[in-house]
Each structure stands twice: as C-alpha cells, then as structure tokens.
C-alpha cells in the first residue's frame, strides 16, 4: 500500500545528515535565503489568483478585502479561498444573531420578525455553514454551493419577515452584507464545479 501524507517524512531526511551542527546551520541559511528570494513570487502569484477569483464574483471589493485580510489566503487554492469566504459568512451570521438578540429587548413591537430572523440565521450557522465547510474539505463542492445559496435566501427571508408585517426592517444593511458575502462564497465555489 502506498501513501503517507505526514510532513513527518521530512524529519528522516534531516536525520540522515551526519554532522549535525555544521550542516544543519548551513541548511538553515539556505532555507532562509530561498525563502527571501521566493517571497516576492509567492505574494505575486497568490495575489493574481485572489484578484482573478474575485473578479468572477458579484462583489469584487468585498471579496478582495475579505481574502486579503486573512493570512490563509496567501497559500490557498480556490478551495481554500472558498473556505475563507464561508468562514467570513459564518462570522457575520453569528454576529447577526447577537445583534438580533440585542434588538429584541429594545424593540418589542418587532419581536415576531426578529425571532424569525434569528431562526434563519441559526439555520445558516448550524446547517448551511457546516455543510459548506464539510463539502469543501471533502472535495464535494456541489454540496457547498447549496449551503451558500441557501444562506443568501435566508437573508432575503429575514427582510421579508418585516416587510410582510408592514414593518421597517432594522436589519436591512446587515442582511444585505451577509447576502453579498454568501453570494461571493457561492461564486467562488462554482469555480470548483
């Protein structure tokens, strides 16, 4: 049987060096210089991937700022970029639930709608996001797309809860933000299909 995926395999390589101290130091120095020399290429190559990926999403700037602010994007492939975006969606949805809870006490007249919205965002955090992450990790992007598509729909359903009762939604901007980021995540995931 073949395989091992452990990075532990590097250790035996190092073990084979007989004269530790001297050869090891020079090895470290070679690595350092390699790293320094390679750095501009790493940054350039990945920046290009991030830019071209974001160009194919409905919100270029949102995509760019979200990815660039996450260090994992520097070495990521498209699946990793997707995971970052799904993570960002989860963060926003989690904060949404907190925000809704805070409004619940101060706006008793909106309680029914707020309650519905909380349910919807809990569905996002408990079902959609874990499903998308599981799918991206497992190499089954088609299921990840379903999760992010649903997230966008939940934000719209939340708006509708207020509108349907003839109320002004206090969550419009927040819902829009999350809809946008979910759509960006979805667009990135589509690139894997």
């Amino acid at each position: 049987m073949t395989f091992s995926l452990g990075k532990a395999n590097f250790i035996p390589q190092v073990l084979r060096i007989k004269n530790f101290n001297m050869k090891f130091t020079s090895l470290i120095m070679i690595f350092f210089s390699h790293l320094l020399l390679q750095t501009p290429f790493i940054v350039m190559g990945d920046r290009r991937l991030i830019e071209s990926t974001c160009k194919a999403t409905p919100s270029y700037n949102l995509c760019l700022s979200t990815l660039m602010s996450n260090p994992k994007s520097t070495n990521g492939d498209i699946s990793d970029l997707g995971l970052i975006m799904v993570g960002a969606t989860k963060s926003k949805a989690t904060r949404a639930i907190q925000h809704i809870k805070s409004l619940y006490m101060s706006h008793p007249e909106l309680r029914h709608s707020l309650n519905e919205c909380a349910q919807m965002y809990m569905a996002v955090v408990r079902a959609d996001v874990p499903s998308a992450i599981q799918a991206l990790d497992g190499g089954q992007p088609k299921f990840a797309e379903d999760g992010m598509a649903d997230t966008a729909v939940e934000t719209q359903a939340c708006e509708r809860s207020f509108n349907g009762r003839g109320q002004k939604s206090p969550l419009t901007q927040m819902n829009k933000d999350i809809e946008n980021i979910a759509n960006v995540a979805r667009a990135i995931i589509r690139m894997l299909l």
Binding site: A8, I11, L35, G87, S131, D137, D146
Partner: protein, 645 residues
C-alpha cells in the same frame, strides 16, 4: 471549524494516530526516531528540526515544488504532491442540456412564505425517504436472506448534506419499508469525515461483503471493507469494519479527492474478483480497475475500464451485464455471447447519470461502447429530469436487475430546513435491453408498485380536438398511477408539410408552445384555474423527410406560484417504432412525478412544489394543445394507496 490545511501544524500532524502505515522501508520510519543520547543535543536538534520542517513546508507549499524523486520514496511523495492550482475551467457547454442543480437567481428575492400546510403536503406517499433530515446516494442495495436491503447516504443532524453515515432500511417487496438503526457511523479515522458510497457483493457461498469509500480524518478518499457482524441475521443490523482498512488508497497520479464509489465485484476469467472505481485525469472521466482474491489486497490493472475526455469526474460508476435476448436481469458476473455490458457514470460536473451499452473484454478488463458518438457522458441518460448517483443490483429473488436513484430537492434549501427533510429515492426500476431498438435500455417501475393501485377510472377513446382540455375529476389526485395511449389522427399527419425540427424540451415554451401535432398529454398537480399545473406531454413534429419525431417532456414552468422552486422543462426525444402507439405512464406522488414514455424508453423524474394545487385542490387534466391534429386517448387512472415507509 475544520481546517483543510495541515500546513499550519506539520508537527502535530505527525503525532496523530496516523492516517497511513509507513512503508516497510528503513528510510521511512517516520515515527520511529532513533534514540537521542544527549539531552542538550536533543533540545537543539528538536528546535532545528522544527525550524527546518517549517521552512521546507512553507517553501514547498508556497511554490508547489516537487520533492526529490527518490525511487524508494516515490509512492509516498507522489501521494503528497500538492493539488493542482489551476483555475478550473467552466463546465463544457457542449454537453447539451445544461440543467445543473436548481438554484435561485442571485439578487432576486428568492424566499417564499411557505406555510406548514404546504410543506407537509410535499412528503410522499410511496417513495422511500427517511423520517427526517438529509439523504443522498443509494448504497449496497442487495437481496439477502429474504429481505431487500437499502442503505443510503444519510446526514442524521440536519436536512442538508454533512458528515454522512449509512442509513439502512429493509423490505419484503421494495415498496413497504422498515427503518433500521444506522448501519455504519463515522467512527474510524479512515471514514471520520464521511462513510460514503459503496456496493455489496454476494460471494458464491452466500457471504456478503461491502466495499465503501471513507473520507478520512484528512479528507482523503479511501476504500474500506465491511461485512455483517452476524451473517445469520437477515436484517443485517450490525456491521464490522475490517481492521486492516483502508484496503485501497488513491493510486499515484490520482487526486486524493477523486477516488470514490467502488462497484459490486464480478468474476474474472482467472477466478478473481474485479471492481471498478470512477475518477478523473484533468477533465477526462475514467474508471480504474482492480482485481482481488479476498477483498483485502488489490491489484490495480494497467489499463482503465473506459475513459471519456471532457466529461470530468465520474461518480457512482456502475458496470453490469444485460441479456441480448432474455427478459431477465443477469448476475453481475455473467458474461458470454448473449450478453452486452452497460457502463454508467454520474457526472459530477452536470449532475446527471449517463450510460452506454457496449462490449466487455474480460481478459483485458476493457469495455468499448457500441456507439462511440453516444459514449458515456455524451449520450443517453437514465432519466431526463432529476436523477443522480443511481446504482443497480441483481435481485436473485426474482432474477431482475433493479435500479435505485437519489432524487434531490429542487426547492430552496430554506424550505428543506423548515420542513425538516430533504431528498427521496425514485421508485425502483427494472432494467432490460430494449429488444426492439437494441440501442438503449428500458426502465419500468417494479411490478410490486402495482399493489398500491386502487379505484381505477378508465376512459376509452376520448377524442381531444385541437386546443382542448378535459378535467378528469379524479379525487385524491396527489397519489396517482396513470397509464395512457394516444393516437394522432392519420389524416392531419399525412396532410402536413414537414419542416426542420428544432424542438428541445428544455428550450421550448413547454406545454404552452403549440405545434401542429402537439403538445398533448396530462396536466398533473393542477389547480382548477390552472394557476398551477405540471404538464407531461408528447410533442410530435414532422421532419423534412416526412418522418415523425416524438419528444417527451415534463414542464415545471407553471408548476407553482412560488418563486423559489425550479421551473425547468425536462425531456428528450423518444424513439417510436412503426406500428407503435404513443404510450405514457405517470406516477404522481405529491412533490415527485415520475413519467415514462414508450414503456420506459425515455424517463423523466420531476420535483414539484405547488402552493395551491395541493390536498383536495390537486386535480388531473387531459389536454391537446396542438393547432391541427386531433388526438384520441385511452386512459386508466388508479389512486395509489400509501406504502409503509
């Protein structure tokens, strides 16, 4: 939140009860480091080793460098090479029907205020589904000690896909089911991220073995062996996973996430067992072949069973013999001059199941399609609607080859979360070669489904003038079995001038688009004023050469007033031979409609989510929306009882 990258923690990865046993080679004793004699040196060594590993890892991961190709470490390292960082190409548009998953439009308000009443109605009366949560692929269908077994991909925690386990149910008749406990959970490192699809093989001595894909703790796809804990238990409640799992891991050159869904095994001329597993190389869909004597050690054959460029990843590959002359199904090991073989694959890229009929060379382990222009992925589909991850098995009880398939939802996932469940299995179908055309298979609902028929209403020779619609006044029109024959009036057909036939169900205006000779058929799940209705119809067109072309379509465009459901039109051309009347059968079962033309030559499965045409308001109409031809229809409609599911 699971991290997909073990780059962050290279050392901690090494200390996991690791994924793979190291090769029995002195250089690879990764976890057996030689004892370090001096503590100070040990500390220095450890720090330097950590740094060295970190740099190496950063270097390689950052630039996708290939590691030195030492012959001893070849296999190990190739399995480690970083995945291609190529921007994926968009799906080929040359596939014809581009119907992919249903998705609401970006930007529009895609939520609909579904009421519990509307959602409750959607649950089916006689289609297999678990009590709640998510289901996908059918697994290891088998007849064993008097029971039909169905296992299935199941997410026990939510009505969305997730960490999948094997659900399990048994039946005496493929129609009434008894749900059993989960057969296999994600309790081993080699299936920690999912107990994915697999198949059963019954050995000549009656032993049952299962091979299935596990998604490991590192999300690598491997194949595992499992068998009943108690072979004398006809319900096969408990299962044992072979302690030596995994029995197969991705071979060199195959991506760790492109290796899944092992088939039922069949005998080779040498007396070994052979299986096939779908994968891909760039955009070429392929099927790898392995031989084994004990289901524990396998030998990868040099060649592939088959490959088709441009089709992408092949999921749920199926391979089985069909009889050229006989009416029965064949055991998967059967071969010989009276036999053709079918290769089927689920195309990950377009979410449809394709098959082709061809010839198998058992000595080479290769299969060739009879018609290369209609090769797997470009030619025939089992079903022109929603039908994926299907799998057949040989039913030795009644000597049939039976087909199961996953039928997903085409509503918004929000609704699935609200209603608490998602997905169905289609009604199982028997498969035989179409003896008349010799170039396609025929699928038909298993005869056992007829046991649910009750209260038949017959209409003989109903004359439908051009542009007419007739209500059939059938109560309880949410669960129906409709069998009908149609005849176009000869005179109009002969009189008509032929023309270029450019019709395609998916691109047409559906039942509202009138032609001289069609559309005509039924509107199911129809509301009184037709605000909602789902036409299933024939559209006949006369070609320039005077020959008729017949299309069979299911039209969801007006099936619901809700905005967040799929409104596609599905269908395909259906071969109609001289002397044949046009015939169709439709199984209506709440939110699923299964339609069959010409005794199963063309099949269409649809998901339908009306908001008004539900419960007592669901009706059935017969219509002829052609502009010229009269149509004579003879119809039998049965109300269908619900099954125990």
């Amino acid at each position: 939140m699971a991290s997909s990258s073990d780059l962050e923690n290279p050392i901690s990865s090494a200390s996991l009860p690791y994924s793979y046993a190291p090769l029995p080679d002195g250089e690879q004793q990764a976890t057996n480091e030689p004892a370090v004699r001096h503590p100070k040196k040990a500390a220095f060594f450890l720090v330097s080793a950590l740094l060295a590993v970190a740099f190496l890892v950063a270097l390689i991961a950052g630039n996708g460098l290939k590691l030195p190709n030492d012959s001893n470490t070849n296999d190990v390292l190739s399995a480690m090479s970083t995945p291609q960082k190529v921007t994926p190409l968009s799906r080929g548009v040359d596939k014809g029907v581009s119907d992919k998953t249903f998705h609401p439009m970006l930007g529009a308000d895609n939520s609909y205020p579904w009421s519990p009443n509307m959602l409750d109605w959607q649950r089916t009366g006689f289609h297999f589904q678990p009590q709640k949560n998510w289901m996908n692929d059918p697994n290891a269908p088998v007849f064993y000690k008097g029971w039909y077994h169905l296992f299935y991909q199941y997410h026990p925690d939510a009505p969305v896909w997730g960490k999948i386990v094997w659900g399990h149910a048994v039946s005496k008749d493929l129609i009434n089911w008894r749900h059993l406990p989960i057969a296999m959970e994600t309790d081993q490192w080699y299936d920690e991220q999912g107990v994915w699809t697999g198949s059963a093989t019954i050995l000549p001595d009656g032993q049952l073995v299962v091979l299935y894909t596990g998604s490991t703790n590192e999300s690598v796809q491997v194949q595992n062996l499992a068998y009943p804990a108690d072979p004398s238990d006809p319900l096969l409640i408990n299962w044992v996973k072979y302690p030596g799992n995994p029995v197969l891991v991705p071979p060199p050159g195959i991506d760790i996430k492109d290796f899944r869904d092992p088939t039922t095994a069949w005998k080779t001329p040498e007396g070994k067992w052979r299986i096939t597993i779908g994968s891909k190389l760039n955009k070429t869909g392929i099927s790898l072949v392995y031989d084994t004597e004990d289901f524990k050690t396998f030998e990868l054959l040099d060649g592939l069973l088959h490959a088709v460029p441009g089709t992408g990843m092949w999921e749920c590959v199926d391979f089985y013999p069909i009889s050229k002359q006989g009416e029965n199904g064949l055991d998967t090991s059967v071969d010989g001059p009276g036999v053709k073989h079918v290769v089927k694959a689920s195309m990950d890229d377009d979410r449809n199941d394709y098959y082709a009929i061809g010839t198998y060379d058992a000595f080479k382990g290769k299969w060739t399609p009879d018609n290369p222009t209609l090769d797997v992925g470009y030619g025939l589909r089992y079903d022109y609607g929603i039908y994926y991850a299907s799998k057949t098995f040989y039913d030795q009880n009644k000597q049939r080859r039976i087909l199961w398939s996953w039928i997903k939802e085409t509503d918004a996932e929000t609704a699935d979360i609200n209603k608490g469940w998602a997905s169905l299995m289609g009604v199982p179908r028997t498969i035989v070669l179409d003896k008349k055309t010799q170039s396609n298979i025929i699928q038909w609902p298993v005869v056992e489904i007829n046991e649910l028929r009750t209260n038949v209403t017959a209409f003989k020779n109903v004359l439908l003038e051009a542009g007419s619609i007739v209500p059939l006044n059938i109560p309880a029109a949410s669960q129906l079995d409709i069998v009908a024959e149609f005849e176009l009036d000869e005179e109009t057909v002969l009189r008509l001038n032929g023309g270029d036939v450019a019709y395609e169900c998916a691109k047409s205006g559906g039942a509202a688009q009138q032609g001289a000779l069609g559309p005509f058929g039924f509107s199911v799940l129809a509301h009184e004023g037709l605000i909602e209705h789902t036409p299933v119809y024939f559209y006949v067109a006369k070609g320039v050469d005077g020959n008729l072309k017949t299309f069979f379509c299911a039209d969801q465009s007006r099936s619901s007033t809700a905005g967040d459901v799929d409104k596609s039109i599905y269908g395909n051309i259906v071969p109609v031979l001289k002397g044949e009347k046009l015939s169709m059968r439709i199984l209506v079962d709440h939110s699923i409609v299964e339609s069959f033309a010409q005794e199963g030559r063309t099949c269409i499965t649809s998901r339908v989510y009306p908001t008004k045409a539900i419960y007592n308001n669901a009706q059935l109409f017969l219509f002829n929306n052609a502009t010229a031809a009269k149509v004579t229809a003879s119809v039998n409609v049965w109300q269908m009882k619900s099954a125990d599911i």
